[in-house]
Symmetry: C2
Subunit: 195 residues, 2 copies
Amino acid sequence: MKHVITISREFGSGGREIGFRLASKLGIPFYDKDIISIAAEDNNMEESAFIEFDEVVEEIPEYVSGTPFSQIYQIPMSDQVFLMQSKVILQLAEKGPCVIVGRCADRILDDSFNLFLYADMKKRVERMLALEKGTDAAKMEERIREADRKRKDYYQYYTGSMWGRAQNYHLCLDSGKVGLDGCMKAIDVYLEFYR
Amino acid sequence: MKHVITISREFGSGGREIGFRLASKLGIPFYDKDIISIAAEDNNMEESAFIEFDEVVEEIPEYVSGTPFSQIYQIPMSDQVFLMQSKVILQLAEKGPCVIVGRCADRILDDSFNLFLYADMKKRVERMLALEKGTDAAKMEERIREADRKRKDYYQYYTGSMWGRAQNYHLCLDSGKVGLDGCMKAIDVYLEFYR
């Protein structure tokens, strides 16, 4: 595999595990959103955020520029974090093939192989309850919906494109119908032909 | 295969051909949108359309009902055609496993296996130009965009859901990156695990 593999996924669909298995199988590094967040923080966050701020300072809206507000106009922290994480993703991709989960990596990178994993709610609740004992199904469903809503909003806000729109990915798989083993096998075969 | 297979596809992605190949391989009937349209027309269209009209006559909007307009209020012909085609799709599915291309069959049927095929514009233009000599690339791209726009609007109007939303299908494949052979192999493997 000469490409970076990006994984987008509905909460509870097993997308992260698919990513981990793919990385192990292919012998390439695995980065999930936590690793990317930590890397962005370690990566001299404040200095870099300032540089980014410098770069976009021209984009102060006209109604702010030239007024006293221009002194205090700043990029929201969430946007600064996104910019830093994007930079980390580009740096990781430059080092060579790897698996990156989440963080809109499919839109940040130009030539990545993009996967989207999902499953119906029932299957995802079952899977999560098996992993985390002691929660009831209704609470778990609520948590899944909330996590998905956040991912959807995040993707939409930072990419302007729709999370889960098939054409944003090369292969989209319902893991509920075939399990993670079935997904792995289908991805394997697709990758054999991927040029 | 004990399920009906539905194929949704971007124009030029080869989805119809994938459907045809799947039907041949599995030895099950293949129905594309033309076959369904003809079946709907043959199927005593006028009488059945009238029955459908009867069924939904209560849905005359309040501002029409009780006014002289209620006499002339009718379901638009396009909606009557959709209802007839849906009925044909349900009838075909009842007979047993088959492949159905287009016509929102993925939303009309309850327990179908749903595929979505797509590819980037460059690949689709290339594919269509190889099939239909004598058209130039710019005209072909225009035709592809127009066909996709119609499919998108049709799906959105009749299902209320988004055409190409990955979660509406079990497996979505970019055929441009792996060719139709690659798609067939990946679908094969996915189906082996499909329960």
